[in-house]
Symmetry: C2
Amino acid sequence: MNGAPAAADLKVVLSDALGIVRETRALIRNALDKGFTHRSKADGTFVTDVDIAVEEKVRTLLAARYPAHRVIGEELPETGGGDALTWVIDPIDGTKSFRHGVPLYGTLLALLQGDDPVLGIIDLPGLDKTYSAARGLGARCNGRVVALEDLSGDEALDREIIGIGDRQQFVSAGLPSVFDTLMRAHPGVRTYTDCFGHALALDGSVGAMVDYDLRVWDTMASKVLMEEAGGRYVCSERTGNDPRERRFDVILGKPRVVDWILDLIATDERPTGKA
Amino acid sequence: MNGAPAAADLKVVLSDALGIVRETRALIRNALDKGFTHRSKADGTFVTDVDIAVEEKVRTLLAARYPAHRVIGEELPETGGGDALTWVIDPIDGTKSFRHGVPLYGTLLALLQGDDPVLGIIDLPGLDKTYSAARGLGARCNGRVVALEDLSGDEALDREIIGIGDRQQFVSAGLPSVFDTLMRAHPGVRTYTDCFGHALALDGSVGAMVDYDLRVWDTMASKVLMEEAGGRYVCSERTGNDPRERRFDVILGKPRVVDWILDLIATDERPTGKA
């Protein structure tokens, strides 16, 4: 596959990608049974040997199938680049949860055409759920179609749950006021961090997910998933030409809830819709 | 069984109680497959027909086995009372999560001797985990012993996750400052609401869980579970002689983390250790 993938091609690639992600579950299960080690990274966060093993596994399987594609991952150096297509891997999104035995982590895989994700997978081994989507092919969870219903009226807004990242992410983004404003303005704001919160937004379990200071591997799968599910994904990008340095502030979910949040937070703090 | 139950008696009662709770899982699974209805309660929260069905099931099974015992439940009127022993039922703790399809709800059952819980069960059907404990018999999760390890030193405190209830609970308790202070003081505070947060505290996945404005059925199982797991449970009680009107502000978890939180929040806002 070279250049712009056709829908028929994407269907095959999605099936391949799902197979690749599923193969990583054994590594995670094994680590949870037998234990794993961790160490600090330069940015102060932790990485476990499971993060590395999962990313290596995905890279090996991708290289066998798509040797020309560029690959960016959270834990290992960039490879490839002879092609306009880029795979983006987050082997364990929610390493903090994973390390602490909280089952709300996941493995993320996206395929970008230029800067646009055309395929995305969120796999949640701890909940046995796999969300997948590709451009024009819709979104699915464990094979079942995911189609988001918007709120029928604003009157139901208070009954929604709104997912949000850790306050620390908003501090890192220089915008703790976004976190604090939302927490005070709505009775159902909960820190459903990492891809778990994104998955809940896809299901409509939360009206929207507000997640700031993300890296490229944290959010590309969610963009195509949410758009294919019929929801809204708005994003503001900050800093950097190096893909590893880019930061994304995103809000995704039911259009009316996303709009309500955009109206609530100040103009200078809101994602603009620029992807 | 009458009066103070001996450990041998409690072992039998715990086995009965586990069987009773397990029988409710089919009702929950069925509702998730086929759908369920909900309505508002007088306090503005929601109740589903599943909450009612589960509480009825538990009451029927308890009445057959322990007809003399008093029974208090969240959704149905108090019954019995010829005995010093009281069963306390929360058929679905985390109804908001349940209604929204977030798998972090549970069924709670406790047995009180006077005002002291001597047996407690937290069942999390969405995660397939059952925590159980009885006085002198230790705590278990799916049969495996739960024994909490305290932090070895304060230096690790920042790396802990701290679970907390919804901010709205702290508003209802008249103490939103406790929520806000904790959110600002620690980088890993997350709203892991309801019994899910209590279960994470038992596992040591969160260093402590801070949960305010609870009813009697929200917290009695956790008290005996945490104490039998070797952790610390502190509680401050507000208002009411009627058991339905009592409110509990609790902090439970690793002793060093609980102590750090008690030191952080102001003297007039902290649970005192009074159970």
